[in-house]
Amino acid sequence: MSFSLNEVEATAKKAARGAGYSWGLAEEAGKATRWLCAQGLDGCAALAALLQEPRPETPTCDGVVWSGPGALCSLITGATLSDCAADLANGPIRLVEVAQPQLLLPFAAGAARHLGTVLTLSCDTLTACTDGAGLDLATIPAPPGTSDVTVSIGGAMAEARAIQSRATPDPADWETLTGFAARTYAPATDASRRLGAGAGLSDND
């Protein structure tokens, strides 16, 4: 099914919240998933996979190497990368063992826009460049589940991917996201039915 990008963003945000992320990180998840879909990448699959990871870690940011006791959460790591964009001026940052590294791309784009420069992300098999607006990356047949990633200033945008205005996620991934999203909904009670929305008067007047 074809979804609007607002639907993708809203569902991704609720899913991340339902999976236990803070509201602020859930907002990041919504924007990041939307951005990936706008680039024609499967943001919903990446987020669905991340939310099913057993326990993705918050990085310890020790200078130019960020790592944790296990695989790093790409949402938290990405958000921190965007927050610390200025630190990239000191040299490349190496992110050790990132889960669902595709989700770093939107945050790198935000950092690139802020710095006014192209950023390059590379892992074992792939290299991506972003100038903030666009992304230079060939379609990924099988995106890595976990990978070390190096982020550095510089690189050349050869050809930016075409921007998409719709997303057609895999139904199983969408179901995963809506399943997590459902955890944010309060079970209905008699009181909420009666009082919550505050109306329910007859419209026959």
Binding site: S22, R166, A186, T189, G198, G200
Partner: protein, 561 residues
């Protein structure tokens, strides 16, 4: 000697403007989205047609209304249904309606209509595509509808008193846009000139809905009355608006879109400041103000509500209108910064509701100062979302204080200060407001209490070094991330935050609803509870065949006989 430069008047501060009691007293003005739309339709000589009207004698079928501007067409596709009375609910959670609509991007062909006929009548249970911009539905005002059909079928006109008492033949219960149910995202149409100002697609949809409703009631009367049926008097038709029932769902919108809401408020505040800075008015400008004040007083006189809060507000507003009319009758509205003096007089002598009416009304004589601000009301600043982690803790504390300093001393653990919680119900996926201490909802609370969250973030920052980058704090405290984002947005969007407690025991969600609806251009707010309001849209507006630059703007003010 050169003329003295206009003395700049500062914008009213957010601490004054963004109180809920004032937001809940806003009135439409020149910048309201409905008026922006009708002015554009007239100035650009949009043309209108009804390529399809296939509705049977029972009122079942569909119709298409197309509006064509300089660059493209938009079409309202309307489906009319025969709804049993027991299914007629104004709740957003209803499942059947008298009529359902979509605004189509272009002119639909038969295949489009076939696809839409299988989805639009289902509303939330259907799916639409990127070709559709909005989805909406409406129910009849049963009393007035039947009266109209009966009267016209019998060959005479409807009773003006009955018409005035309701004001509309149908009221919408939701108008979905911006990607909902699979429709086109706002981003895909936002760069079109006619869609730049917010909610123009939704306002066009309602404008065309009003034409459809007029045509449908005539069609039904003709079907019943045959040759005897009378044609609806154009004056009565023009007095009709489209009603709207708006519930809680709209209240979170203004909290969830701080940059957008800031831009609405700031555009109006800038307009008010510009007009207050006018040193000398012309006789024509003063006469325009006085004439529209009389018409505005008539509109207020016709405004009815059965809700106790609104009854009290109307009583005060009517008394203030009398005082204002008396004052304006003799006051000098020409020399010595007349509008600034009038506004100051209003602040000193009138209640909040009337102050806001004055603030809106002084804009009327000055299209050249005001109307150009309308495009500034869109939110195109997508970078505002990104947190700048390099900003130090001390700056963040100051930003929090600027928007929420008033909230730091509130005891947020006291029952009355956090009595309510906003949540989304599993059953209907709609926002609701519940009683935190009586219902099991706290675990599901939505982030719609920015003031409480700001006080918490400010307290959490107390022991951090002032020169620490906020990124370090955020890595340790992701639970404050949404609040730090708002604090940074507040620095560029000072009117984006409500300066009141949105979860207190006495919060009135209708104040938030009215603020948004006033920017749409709604009038005659009629709360049905503390969280539900009926309004009227487009009453008095010219129909397409009467739309011209002369009629396109001040229709919002009823003519004084």
């Amino acid at each position: 000697m050169p003329a003295p430069r206009p003395r700049p008047v500062p914008l009213r501060p957010p601490a004054q403007v963004m109180r809920l009691s004032r937001l809940g007293s806003l009135h439409q003005c020149r910048l309201s989205f409905m008026r922006v739309l009708t002015r554009r339709l007239a100035v650009e000589s949009w043309t209108f047609s009804r390529p399809v009207f296939e509705i049977d004698a029972h009122g079942v079928g569909h119709a298409v209304y197309s509006a064509t501007g300089p660059d493209r067409s938009y079409s309202l596709v309307a489906f009319a249904h025969d709804l049993p009375p027991e299914m007629r609910s104004d709740r957003v959670i209803a499942t059947a309606w008298d009529a359902t609509f979509t605004l189509f991007d272009g002119v639909p062909d038969a295949a489009d209509i076939d696809r839409l006929s299988k989805n639009i009548p289902l509303q939330e249970a259907g799916r639409v595509s990127a070709r559709e911009i909005s989805v909406s539905r409406a129910n009849r005002s049963v009393r007035l509808w039947e009266h109209f059909v009966e009267a016209l079928a019998a060959g005479h006109q409807p009773d003006p008193a009955k018409t005035a008492a309701v004001g509309y033949l149908m009221r919408t219960t939701a108008v979905y846009g911006s990607g909902k149910l699979g429709a086109a995202d706002r981003e895909t149409i936002a760069d079109r000139p006619e869609m730049q100002v917010p909610f123009q697609a939704e306002m066009l949809s309602v404008y065309l809905t009003r034409v459809f409703v007029r045509d449908l009631v005539q069609h039904m009367a003709n079907a019943r009355g045959g040759d005897r049926a009378a044609t609806l008097d154009p004056g009565i038709a023009q007095s009709l608006g489209i009603g709207n029932s708006t519930g809680l769902g709209m209240a979170p919108f203004i909290v969830n879109h701080p940059v957008l809401f800031n831009n609405w408020i700031m555009a109006r505040e800038e307009a008010i400041a510009r007009v207050r800075a006018v040193q000398t008015a012309t006789n024509d400008e003063a006469a325009t103000f006085r004439a529209l004040l009389d018409r505005s007083a008539l509109s207020v006189a016709r405004w009815h509500s059965e809700h106790p809060i609104q009854i009290e507000k109307l009583k005060a507003l009517r008394a203030d209108m009398a005082a204002l009319t008396a004052h304006a009758g003799t006051a000098d509205l020409i020399t010595n910064a007349p509008w600034n003096r009038l506004y100051d007089w209003a602040e000193a002598h009138l209640g909040t509701d009337a102050q806001e009416l004055v603030a809106s009304l002084i804009l009327e004589p000055y299209p050249d100062l005001v109307d150009g601000l309308a495009p500034c009301m869109a939110d195109s600043n997508t970078d505002a979302f990104r947190i700048d982690g390099a900003i130090p803790v001390a700056t963040t504390r100051a930003a929090l204080a600027a928007s929420f300093g008033w909230a730091f001393d509130i005891d947020w653990s006291a029952r009355e200060n956090c009595a309510r919680a906003w949540y989304v119900s599993e059953e209907k996926l709609e926002p609701r407001l519940g009683e935190r201490f009586d219902e099991p909802i706290t675990d599901y609370e939505q982030p719609l209490a920015p003031a409480r969250d700001a006080a918490a973030a400010h307290a959490a920052l107390a022991n951090w070094q002032g020169d620490t980058p906020i990124a370090t704090f955020l890595l340790a405290h992701p639970e404050h991330r949404h609040t730090i984002r708002r604090a940074q947005i507040g620095a560029i969007a000072p009117y984006g935050e409500i300066h009141d407690n949105t979860i207190s025991a006495d919060v009135l969600p209708i104040d938030m609803l009215r603020a948004k609806l006033a920017f749409f251009g709604a009038t005659h707010f009629d709360p049905r509870s503390d969280r539900w309001v009926r309004i009227c849209m487009y009453a008095g507006a010219p129909y397409p065949e009467d739309l011209s630059p002369r009629t396109a703007d001040r229709w919002i003010y009823p003519e004084v006989e």
